[in-house]
Amino acid sequence: MANPRALDKRRRSVRNIRKITRTMELIATARFKKAMDRAHAATAYTERMTQLVRDLAQSGAEVKHPLLAGRTETKNATLLVLTANRGLCGGYNGNVIRAAYERWTQLKAEVPKTTLEVSGKRGITGFSYRGQKPDERFTHFDDKPSFEEVEVIAARYLDAYAAGTLDRLDVAYMKFINVARQTPVVETLLPLGSLSVEAGPAKKGQAAEAQGQQTGKKGEVQYEFLPSAESILQEVVPASFKVKLFKCFLDAAVSEQVARMVAMKGATENAGELIKQLSMTYNRARQGRITGELLEVMGGVEALNK
């Protein structure tokens, strides 16, 4: 039987760990709520952007832009991987890296020149471990990616695409579906497949009322374009790309906090169970020792009486 004192010591250390994981869980919960609010606030923009694009398309403007059309030949490809700066968040980093690595090997086989860009310390070490040195690293994105910071990166991609030094951009990140589900995905952001930014279905009330007032006909509002539908479209396309990239960063931030929350909840529960088990063994060991001592005393008394 184990030494009761050693058992007690172990139990104490597990208790300390449980305190830490509980605190981390609480912090992750708070951060998750904040990140979620930010992601939610961002949908207002994407929704309106989608509506704007729809109205433009309805007006008969031809949706044509170099960013929308794919290149016939892909010579330069970039893979951007979004991971966390910190660990202790379950399979979050591992899953993203695994998905990204798969695409990376595939890209390397297909495309002559590939560039790897990784955000987050975990991703950087993960890829270095697999023998891939990231060409570009970012570690300044935490749980609150700001649009300004993302815009810098987005602008660089747009410029590179326009200059012809980039033909394809893939982004690997953890997509946030709901609190219980996040999946690692690799999405191709350049060339932009379609203009619609993912968002919930736009509210129909406004459009319907507008139809009633502005024109008698259904589904048509005659817009005046300043300067012209085409020129606005020229501007909408890059803006929509920037927002899409920003949304990836936001999703990654939210998913990270969720993953950490879940992982730390599990850790806290496990620690509790371990404490229970250790307490039981400890009590049993202590009782065993007492019984042993009692038996010894009784044996001694018996021997004296004889």
């Binding site: 930010r38 939610h40 606030a41 961002a42 949908t43 207002a44 923009y45 994407t46 309106r48 952007m49 509506q51 704007l52 109205d55 433009l56 700001s146 649009f147 300004e148 815009e151 410029d159 326009a162 200059a163 509210k203 009330g205 406004q206 009322e209 507008a210 007032q213 502005q214 509002v221 005659q222 817009y223 005046e224 374009f225 300043l226 300067p227 539908a229 020129s231 606005i232 501007e235 909408v236 803006a239 920037k242 927002v243 920003f246």
Partner: protein, 146 residues
């Protein structure tokens, strides 16, 4: 999240300013002045539906000295049914603008190399942006003193 305000019957406009990060403001007013790409545009209630490209400059809500003023960093505007929706990268209240910072930005931009068309375009953009910010920030302090 700010919801679409119901279109009002008469006399007021709803102005909604959204950036990718948040809804900056959602308010009703009687007049909105927008910085379009080629000059200012005033929108009063019952304006015809319009989609326009924005430049860098001042967005004003209301008239006269009570007007709320924002610096708008490009983007688009959609006017439909007395709702003015402004989609922009940044919207900063004029009182929060810093002329000194903008001036510094202008100086560094002017020192930038621009040997290709793209670089030239970037430099021009930054110069117009910072000039608009300086203009607004200085006017903001001037009116505050009165």
């Amino acid at each position: 999240m700010a919801d679409h305000a119901a279109p009002t019957t008469s006399g007021t406009l709803t102005c909604v300013v959204v950036t990718p990060e948040q809804t900056v403001l959602s308010e009703s007013t009687d007049f909105v002045a927008l910085p379009l790409f080629d000059g200012e545009l005033g929108v009063a209630p019952k304006h015809s539906p319009m989609i326009g490209r924005l430049g860098y400059g001042e967005l004003r809500l209301g008239r006269g000295s009570h007007a709320k003023r924002y610096y708008i960093d490009g983007g688009f505007v959609q006017v439909l049914n007395d709702v003015v929706t402004v989609l922009t990268g940044r919207a900063i209240e004029v009182s929060h603008l810093d002329a000194a910072v903008a001036r510094e930005q202008l100086r560094t931009a002017q020192g930038r190399k621009a040997n290709t068309d793209e670089l030239l375009a970037i430099r021009d953009r930054i110069i117009t942006q910072s000039r608009a910010q300086i203009r607004l920030a200085e006017r903001g302090t001037a009116t505050a003193r009165h």
